[in-house]
Symmetry: C2
Subunit: 170 residues, 2 copies
């Protein structure tokens, strides 16, 4: 039976350094060893072994940015589609991703690219109301569906590829 | 096997009067008899026979408002949770829903109630990036997952009930 999981936010706040820097012990003041909605999201993202396709309106969360950069270092092929207007906003992590050589495209139109989904290895879908921002994770009431159900994953794979072809590499 | 469907937006624009006023013929200028993402969404909402639990940040789409009002006339029990700030915004359909006697609650906090999901008869989940606005339906790039998978539906039912109890009836 394929994985089906739902994560709700705001997430409890807990340290995620063990996921992002597993070799270094952490002495920060946050609770450690606590499983939260956010740590589960990070774990799913970090589980990528071949590809990560990310289609999010807003991406400013620095922990999620570190996760994507660590995938890049491991050779995971990463494609990021984001909203043109949001990319220019203060705190956007799109700049650091591009500097690391990750392909980022944005829709050219006047409308919002309002999706918030990620595809891990083309077979795990993470989709819901949650933008990849700190506010969404720590303050808002939000949801994410995490599923490997092919009837749900396949349409998102096709839509990502369609939007990727339509979008502006600039 | 439970229903699993994905709808992408923007939707083609087509007449939906046959869904909202099935007895009256329509002579408007829009295409008729076309199945679109929006007509499929409307059909799923209108399929409610006992209850509709709706948790949306923004609700200004008048066709979706008409659908909810017609459910109300048929005796479907409707609960609406919406964002406190958005309820006050011009074009919000929360006022008309309340005037029709539908229970609307809003979160009391300073944060966003950013969900966009609906539960039809407690067994069909409609959830994604799409707010119930005209812009979301006709202009933005958006998605909705429609599923009867119990592992996905059950957590949303529990979360709706939890938020409903927490929320302000005012
Ligand atoms: Zn720590
Ligand atoms: Zn018509």
């Amino acid at each position: 039976k394929p994985l089906n999981e739902v994560l709700f936010f705001p997430s409890e706040v807990a340290c995620v350094e063990h996921l992002l820097s597993p070799s270094a012990p952490c002495y920060c003041a946050l609770p450690h060893g606590v499983d939260t909605s956010f740590s589960r999201l990070l774990r799913h993202v970090l589980s990528a072994s071949s590809s990560l396709d990310l289609c999010v309106f807003a991406f400013s969360n620095t922990d999620l940015c570190r996760a994507v950069l660590s995938l890049r270092k491991r050779g995971v092929v990463i494609r990021v589609l984001s909203d043109k207007d949001y990319i220019a906003i203060n705190g956007s992590q799109i700049g650091p991703l591009r500097k690391a050589g990750i392909c980022v495209r944005s829709d050219g139109g006047a409308v919002y690219m309002h999706h918030k989904f990620a595809l891990v290895d083309g077979s795990l879908l993470i989709s819901g109301s949650l933008n990849w921002t700190l506010t969404a994770v720590q303050a808002n009431m939000e949801n994410l569906i995490v599923t490997m159900e092919p009837e749900l994953v396949r349409p998102f794979v096709q839509e990502f590829n369609r939007l990727w072809e339509l979008s502006d590499p600039a």
